[in-house]
Symmetry: C2
Subunit: 301 residues, 2 copies
């Protein structure tokens, strides 16, 4: 089955304590699509300016990513973000944001996308995410990401969205902000009380927690020695998770758990280099090998 | 097999955002001994003042804890600590420390303790930990805990200690401080380079990481909704771990992994109430039940 991914496409400039990159390919939908492409064909929806290089589009298209839904706005510039990571490589400060074309992003789905059965609404304004929901026809599974900004400035729309989707993926700190609960188990449960069928809390280097009708569990991150750039870790996690579920045409608890593991592992590769660089070096086989190692790591005789 | 535990015994005063306790039973050796007592007999070494209630000693003795090594100093006062947890229940500030009898703690092992095969040197000055090591005869496994204070003021002695023990248990932030490595996988490996045969990094609510010749793995914490007081979580973790290993008379990798799980689970109960209150309500059966749930949580089909 195919996966629809709607979200930001960006130029990222990233500083870490030891290295930096200027204007590399980034954005939530970019990371997510690329990560999902190991598993399933992706229908991408996003917007860029005329400064977007054709090679970037070709890179996505060379994988399983359909770019028919990528709007190029003549005379305008692509969304750009600049950030700097602190020595712990988890905390970061945003140095510069230029929304550019993303400020007025109003996604119109190509006709051929409307019946895509699996839908991921990457981080973006809840009003825009709702606008996408209006256009999809009987999706089998809809999962959305969000961030602190929307919790602060579009909370009502976000609450409306949560009632209409199946799963919500968000950071631990965002879950606390959204629910007012400091304990993560309580925060995850509280997201379910808001109407989501399931919820995944991303804890960065500490892994992810799942909450659903079938219970709660925690999966640690894959221990990674060479973290060069954490940018896109959460988006590649979500992409791996959704791509796997779409590939299996499955939404049952056991498949979701395997999907969370695949998401964890795609993210563990993603952080090993800047931008999509590390992901470009691996194939599905690499993920399956790490899957076996991860399974072994968590098996208790 | 028996377990020798040497460390602090204290009166704790604890404030959390919702509750508080004054002068309750605490200290690293206390939590550790009680946690280990679910699994194996414990030989406790520590020092208290004449203000130490006989009921506290009786409580420990009522479990499998031999208190022959508990020195009571006439005319002196027991070590006391007062702390306050921030709303996230992970970070805390120390409000008051009165070392009292602990300041001159110079443990002399009763003759009957010297051949105890499993040894846990709970958090304390490396010089004192080394003094205990001088007194034990051919132990099968020696594991030590430490903290930032000793890394800062007794680093040379700590480095000497690390070369002479089998395992080192410490917090993630302490491992970074000790090794200068910000990445936890690198920090754990660096502890091995200092001479420890294995190393366990405690990450609080995010679980624990193991490093040894047989590799590295991460185990998440058991998801706990009702965290009333995190005091003693690390000590009860270490106690559960060491108690299980002593009970099995084992030091092989598979046993150490099960031991880390038992440590995780004892700690998950411990934080559900103040002081030893929650641990007093459970038995080994409760731990075995939670063990099965934890195993299930981490099994990936």
């Amino acid at each position: 089955m195919s996966l629809l991914v709607v979200g930001s496409i960006a130029f990222d400039s990233v500083e870490t304590p030891t290295d930096c990159r200027e204007n590399v390919i980034g954005g939530s939908a970019t990371y997510c699509s690329y990560a999902a492409s190991y598993f399933t064909p992706v229908n991408l929806v996003g917007v860029v300016g005329e400064d977007w290089p054709a090679e970037h589009t070709a890179l996505l298209a060379s994988r399983n990513v359909n770019t028919d839904g990528l709007e190029v706005k003549a005379g305008e510039k692509t969304f750009s973000w600049k950030g700097k990571y602190l020595p712990n490589m988890n905390d970061r400060e945003t140095l510069e944001v230029n929304l550019n074309v993303f400020e007025t992003f109003s996604p119109i789905l190509p006709e051929s996308y409307k019946s895509t059965p699996f839908v991921f609404l990457a981080n973006g304004a809840p009003t825009v995410q709702l606008q996408v929901l209006e256009q999809v026809e009987n999706p089998k599974l809809v999962v959305a990401d969000t961030m602190d900004l929307w919790i602060n400035i579009q909370k009502e729309d976000l609450l409306t969205l949560i009632k209409r989707i199946d799963g919500l993926v968000l950071n631990d700190s965002e879950a606390k902000l959204l629910t007012g609960e400091e304990n993560l188990v309580k925060a995850g449960q509280a997201v379910l009380d808001l109407g989501a069928k399931f919820c995944v809390l991303k804890k960065g280097e500490h892994g992810a927690m799942y909450f659903g009708e079938d219970g709660c569990y925690v999966l640690p991150a894959y221990p990674t020695e060479d973290v060069l750039d954490p940018t896109g870790a959460g988006d590649s996690f979500a992409g791996g998770m959704m791509g796997y579920l779409a590939s299996q045409d499955a939404t049952d608890p056991a498949s979701i758990k395997r999907a969370l593991v695949y998401g964890t592992l795609v993210a563990s590769y993603n952080v090993e280099d800047f931008s999509l660089d590390r992901m470009q070096q691996i194939e599905r086989d690499s993920l399956d090998q790490r899957f076996a190692q991860y399974q072994q790591m968590l098996s208790i005789d």
